[in-house]
């Protein structure tokens, strides 16, 4: 196998290597206040 093929293979492996995301791509929708009183309904 030619030496540069190893380089191509290694680069390709690096490209397809899936690293887990720690931070999402975009911010989630804003949340509102919830009434979580044990005997309460759903709040606002």
């Amino acid at each position: 196998m030619r030496w540069w093929l190893w380089l191509v293979l290694f680069a390709a492996l690096g490209c397809v290597h899936d690293v887990p995301r720690h931070v999402p791509d975009r911010p989630p929708p804003p949340a509102a206040w919830e009434d979580v009183t044990p005997d309460a309904g759903t709040g606002w």
């Binding site: 030496w3 190893w6 380089l7 290694f10 680069a11 690096g14 490209c15 290597h17 690293v19 995301r21 720690h22 931070v23 999402p24 791509d25 975009r26 911010p27 989630p28 804003p30 949340a31 509102a32 206040w33 919830e34 009434d35 979580v36 009183t37 044990p38 309460a40 709040g43 606002w44």
Partner: protein, 219 residues
């Protein structure tokens, strides 16, 4: 075999590997002032650190997007957020009493509140481009407000995107994380002001001793 190892090493180095942890300073955080029509007196319990991984606040990646090191901070983050939150509420005209997170706090009376919460995420992650590096940073804080009769909860998520640069060292990571943490504090202050104006003040029941005095005063 030796040539292959040399090629692998050259490839790793050429991709901009960083095997050293980056240390960032995140405290103190800035405070904010918001206008409020209904200033409250609150007992602020220290926020709890509920992050899944408290050993790091971000990851360092090489040119192929592989994680090679961590971003760490010597600062105590829940304490820093608690301080910024307390300073902001005081600057906005509220009265704040600090308490430990596990302190026994009595049920609030009248217009008083007990405020507690937990920090569930502080994380940064580089975005590896072909020639540039961007950065995403997020902070997530959940607040609980106990009034005399109700319990309210809200989760605030701040997200900061650093623009692409040729390099992104510790200064860039620190800037992104501080922006996300500052944003979550500012959002928390605005959310508390909003709740303060939406929740009507509770009527204070007369203390039993006063009732007895009134009964004794009857003919």
């Amino acid at each position: 075999m030796l040539r292959l190892a040399a090629l692998w090493l050259a490839g790793v180095c050429a991709s901009g590997c960083a095997f050293m942890n980056q240390s960032v300073q995140l405290a103190p955080l800035p405070s904010f002032t918001e206008r409020t029509l209904a200033p409250r007196r609150v007992v602020l319990r220290e926020l709890v650190d509920a992050r899944g991984d408290t050993s790091r606040v971000g990851v360092v990646k090489n040119g192929w997007g592989m994680e090679t090191a961590s971003v760490v901070t010597p600062d105590e983050l829940p304490g820093a957020v608690s301080d910024a939150l307390a300073d902001s509420l005081i600057a906005s005209g509220w009265t704040v009493v600090r308490a430990a997170s596990n302190a026994a706090v009595p049920v609030p009376r009248g217009e008083d509140w007990v405020l507690s919460g937990w920090l569930s995420s502080v994380m940064s992650e580089p975005i590896m481009g072909v020639w540039t590096i961007g950065l995403r940073a997020e902070a997530e804080l959940t607040l609980e407000v106990r009034t005399a009769s109700r319990l309210f909860r809200r989760t605030l998520r701040a997200f900061h995107l650093e623009p692409d640069n040729l390099v992104c060292f510790a200064g860039c990571v620190e800037e992104g994380l501080r922006a996300a943490l500052s944003q979550v504090v500012h959002d928390a202050v605005k959310a508390l002001m909003e709740l303060s104006e939406r929740v009507p003040p509770q009527s204070v029941e007369p203390a039993p001793t006063l009732l007895y005095l009134r009964l004794e005063a009857l003919p």
